[in-house]
Amino acid sequence: MPKLLLWVAFAALALFVIVLGAERYLASRAVWAQRVMTPNADVEALFGGEPTPIGSPQQYVVFDGKAFLSERNESGVLQLDERYLQRTGTYPLQLKTVEFVGSLARWGTALLAVLAFGVRWLMLRKEAGAAA
């Protein structure tokens, strides 16, 4: 049993490191962007090409470069083409989701490692006491 607990503790620590690494990697790929619906040709002809914003600017992790419009908005923020996202069935991942899930996973794996080490230590102590 103590051997199994040691395995569990190390597996939890390994998971902790993997989660942390994945979180760091995704955070490094995140960019501030505004989802926008580009106007159709009729609207553009009359009211200009300013797109309709969908929600507020967020930090998104989007690997497909074609999802971004070539022009930034008036605040200098990148623009994510909602029509492209809908066409390709892409739901853009937000950095805050990565951080939220990452934080839960890190706490979970850390707690599991501490518990496994703790229980193993108690068991070994009990066994040593019995042997003495």
């Binding site: 619906m37 159709n40 009729d42 914003p53 805050k96 989701t97």
Partner: protein, 200 residues
């Protein structure tokens, strides 16, 4: 009797002359070549999600001379799409938007005051989930007169584009967020609208 016969059309004519208000029809039945957009954004810990609907219909009346107007818009709440089918299903349930019972939200203006340029301060009553509350917000209303360009863009008559946003507290309209969903749905959501109307 003859006087009455003449007076009524005359009064109607005078009333029409005194008011230069134009009526713009909004929505699919108005035959507009563009879609309306209303978005609902929830800024929660887990993520910001935005629901989108193009189901908006109604009328907007604008008097350019007096720089005032009025309007009534109906939003198809049941057609709001958040990009996740399961979330849409939950959102339409009785606990949330209860769209079987309240499929639409209605906004009706009570006062429109010109602020500056194309900006107007609009106050109106929003009825959503059977609850009516007053909302005041600034909107941008851009009017385009009928022209060869507007006709080429397949619009009929004069065209108006109205854009704006306001925030609403879900609990004001009877939506109680369960504890389990507290990090996923915000108590206060932002509504943004971008609607078009045409007179023809």
């Amino acid at each position: 009797m003859a006087f009455q016969r003449c007076a009524l059309p005359l009064l109607l004519l005078l009333a029409a002359a005194a008011s230069h208000a134009q009526t713009f029809r909004v929505g699919k039945e108005a035959g507009l070549p563009v879609s309306q957009t209303v978005t609902v954004e929830s800024d929660a810990d887990f993520e910001n999600f935005t629901g989108i609907t193009h189901g908006v219909s109604g009328v907007i009346r604008i008097d350019p001379a007096k720089k005032t107007g009025s309007g009534r818009l109906e939003i198809d709440v049941a057609s709001i799409d958040t990009g996740v089918p399961l979330r849409n299903e939950h959102m339409r349930s009785a606990q949330w938007l209860d769209t079987d019972k309240y499929p639409t939200a209605v906004f009706e203006t009570t006062s429109v005051r010109h602020k500056s340029g194309d900006t107007y301060t609009v106050t109106g009553r929003l009825t959503f989930r059977g609850v009516t509350r007053t909302i005041t917000t600034d909107v941008n209303a851009r009017l385009i007169k009928e022209s060869a360009q507007s006709r080429a863009a397949r619009f009929r008559g004069d065209v108006v584009r109205v854009r704006g946003q306001f925030r609403l507290r879900l609990s004001d309209y009877g939506v109680r967020i369960p504890d389990i969903a507290k990090g996923k749905v915000a108590e206060i959501v932002t509504i943004r609208f971008d609607v078009f109307g045409q007179t023809g």
